[in-house]
């Protein structure tokens, strides 16, 4: 598979098993489509014997937020040493879940950006039939130096 965009694992500071974006599929200024593959290999550790396997809502949101982080880092001249921290959100609606064997496809849009904050909107779809599983009216991430994480005044 040709790789025309950076690998998410090279941009985001997460290690296993916290990285929840597998590939950047499309990037235009201010917008990104990023993909996570949902598999039983991963879900079985989440779900035990539950069937059918569906990706949990909170991890769907985490994956969406990581796609937002990728968009900002991709467009930053100084991505190294920057962290995107979940600051706030409103209007996050869970409409379904991606199942095992599907791709979770995030379409995120940068609404506003200043030095310290970035505001996003977007949706997440399941690839099987394109149904929307998550709508996010607004999500705000804080842009912080990596070394500030231990600072208790930073957000989560």
């Amino acid at each position: 598979m040709s790789q025309t965009h950076p690998d998410p694992g090279d941009l985001l500071p997460y290690g296993y098993p916290a990285l929840h974006v597998d590939r950047i599929a499309r990037h235009t200024p201010g917008a990104m489509e990023a993909v996570k593959a949902v598999t039983y290999h991963e879900l079985d550790s989440h779900l035990g014997t539950a069937r059918p396997g569906r990706f949990p809502a909170t991890l769907t949101l985490e994956s969406f937020l990581q796609a937002c982080g990728l968009l900002v880092l991709q467009e930053s001249e100084e991505a190294d040493g920057q962290l995107l921290i979940f600051g706030s959100a409103r209007g996050v609606r869970v409409l379904g879940a991606a199942g095992a064997g599907e791709l979770l496809v995030h379409s995120v849009e940068l609404v506003d950006r200043d030095e310290e904050t970035a505001t996003f909107t977007g949706v997440s779809r399941a690839s099987g039939d394109g149904r929307i599983v998550l709508e996010v009216e607004r999500a705000i991430t804080l842009i912080r130096p990596a070394g500030s994480l231990g600072d208790p005044e930073s957000a989560a």
């Binding site: 500071p13 997460y14 290690g15 296993y16 098993p17 916290a18 990285l19 550790s45 989440h46 779900l47 035990g48 014997t49 539950a50 069937r51 569906r54 949990p56 809502a57 909170t58 991890l59 949101l61 985490e62 937020l65 921290i85 979940f86 600051g87 706030s88 959100a89 409103r90 209007g91 996050v92 609606r93 869970v94 879940a97 994480l149 231990g150 208790p152 005044e153 930073s154 957000a155 989560a156």
Partner: protein
């Protein structure tokens, strides 16, 4: 990870138990979750420093609501996060205190949660849930 918390066989949840204790109070419940440095799921967030992810606070809230309602994990689904604001990180060895008001809205449940660590607020979350069918 072993746990003594009952879990429904059809539960859809994170691989960690995100709740340590829940106690019913007038109008809702109070819950506690300690951030454990060597929890396997937190190993990657971040490799150099353990930070409890903001969405895990939402997951903790869900699991606390499930225990409060049913005495077992896995019976509630998230419908909407009306608003969430994270003001401080929850770090390794922090105990996060959740003070949660629960209201019914038809067949839905609305929680208004204030989360704090070391006596200072770290998050406020307003969310809507429904029982799984």
């Amino acid at each position: 990870m072993t746990t003594t918390v009952p879990i429904r066989a059809d539960a859809r949840r994170l691989p960690l138990v995100a709740v340590d204790h829940v106690e019913a109070v007038e109008g809702g419940f109070v819950g506690r979750k300690k951030v454990v440095r060597d929890d396997p799921y937190l190993a990657g967030h971040f490799p150099s420093l353990t930070v409890y992810p903001g969405v895990f606070l939402i997951e903790s809230l869900q699991q606390m609501l499930e225990l409060h309602l049913d005495g077992a994990l896995g019976g509630v689904e998230l419908v909407e996060v009306g608003s969430a604001r994270f003001s401080r990180p929850a770090l390794a060895d922090d105990e996060v205190l959740f003070e949660v008001a629960v209201d019914r809205d038809g067949d839905r449940l609305v929680t208004k949660a204030t989360c704090s660590t070391r006596g200072q607020r770290c998050a406020r979350i307003v969310a809507t849930w429904r029982h799984r069918t």
